[in-house]
Symmetry: C2
Subunit: 322 residues, 2 copies
Amino acid sequence: MTDGTMAACIIDDTPRATIVPKPRRRAGEVLIRVTLAGICNTDLEIVRGYVPGFNGIPGHEFVGVVEEADDSRLVGKRVTAEINCACGQCEYCRAGLGRHCPTRTVIGIINRDGCFAEYMAVPQENVVEIPDTISAPQAVLIEPTAAALEILDQVTIGKTMNVLLLGYGKLGMLIAHTLITTGCTLTIVGKHPRKSRSCGNIPAHYVPADDFVDGQFDVVVEATGNPAVLERAIANTKPRGTLVLKSTYAGNPPVNLSPIVVNEITLVGSRCGRFEAALAFMQNHYTPVEPLIHKTFPLTDAVQAFTEAAKPGALKVLLKNE
Amino acid sequence: MTDGTMAACIIDDTPRATIVPKPRRRAGEVLIRVTLAGICNTDLEIVRGYVPGFNGIPGHEFVGVVEEADDSRLVGKRVTAEINCACGQCEYCRAGLGRHCPTRTVIGIINRDGCFAEYMAVPQENVVEIPDTISAPQAVLIEPTAAALEILDQVTIGKTMNVLLLGYGKLGMLIAHTLITTGCTLTIVGKHPRKSRSCGNIPAHYVPADDFVDGQFDVVVEATGNPAVLERAIANTKPRGTLVLKSTYAGNPPVNLSPIVVNEITLVGSRCGRFEAALAFMQNHYTPVEPLIHKTFPLTDAVQAFTEAAKPGALKVLLKNE
């Protein structure tokens, strides 16, 4: 649209697709025309109202083209953007951990409009240019790939180690792709054998979700989002082993934490990761994203897209904007 | 007694002080005449029936004199003993982590009689000789001092770090003594200002238990045993910081684990530690144990001693056997 408005998905009381004013970029920001965006579980939690205080345009996985920027060399470039917009001054920012800046905004999650719109404005320093060798769906998946790779930034995993991945959904499949590059012996517990087959290029032991995996592992990654799985995850972590918690749970699930103390387990919370690392990973490792794509909707059908993405077993739902 | 029996505290249905056969040592074991023993929170949990499956003589903090041993040089020596009796063969034992041996027995806790008795038999390899410079109450406290020091084996704590200790009971006070040797800035939240004064030789900020400590810490140690404190402990841990869990909780408390994921907190379960390290610590650092001693009972009054030890605010209760 050229009248200063744009199509967008808005969360106020309930999510709706509507027409809103096109954003203006401030100095230091770039204006991006979004071409493809992905719906992740955090978006579904926002849509369901589980993320209190968010009003505006959700969405944080995207690829688009720069329309305006202070630096004219960026105009016309295909880009995505690191989602944490940090102050650049605090102890976390100075330590390279802007992702934990206490005054940060987060694209589509905390106090900043996201990518489920025709246009968005983001800080120029967050912009990551996408090389031609990376497809649009791959570019959209850089953010969750960074979140998957974050595990390897936090925990040392080597060839002699037995690793258990619980959860084989959108994020779980990307985690599997990153874990397997360590040379570890990987066991994956997942709900959907169809997916296991479609990602069968990952050499792992595949176990159906309802089967209890006997034995204990050096590292367990919990990525189901299901709090009922947590005790199983703790039980499958060997003494002095590491349990990586990738899931946030709605509510306060009751948990028996005693085995964590008795077996001196280290539980590592893991969230966002480095975009450059994720881009390099995609360039250097074969990461087929097609098996991850469930369905693509036009942006104007965003509400239907959310419904589809929330169906059990649904993988990545994309929003297209052309 | 010389008739082949001895006084002991027995747990079958309820705890009782009684007369039982004196144990016979097997080959590889030493027979110890216990002279002083300490009651810890694990003993209280056993007495209350919170540790399913334990029947026999509880107690694992003690000092005594060797009466019989394969190695005659040990006879007459004043000793205590590492409480985990390990197989010596498995991957944990080979890695120096017999404390996690899956087939271990544990003195007074798992499948092995403990020290609330006139005599006990323990594997010779578990015996730690006590030098004359260490008093009997100090020797009794080597086990909890090892548990306190375990934190420093697991987590690197340095001079630039802000550390918060939640809980200032029997174990908490020993933890404070070990933490302060790192040169860290220590804040202690505890219930009993009397104790704070009595251990006032530890340079720390003392905060009453009901006051919320504002701010976030590099390392938080949870040693209250109160599950209601856990969310506070998580909130006081800074992003990418470490929360050491020293407490086990009865039941399955509801916990909001999301901040652990969002702030990428590392939660470290911590249990038993190395006895040699604890003995060396006591020899090299002034560790006044007197403020920790609440009351001493004769072994035959063990049941009263448990009642006293369970009173709110009670510190270390000892059982004497002369």
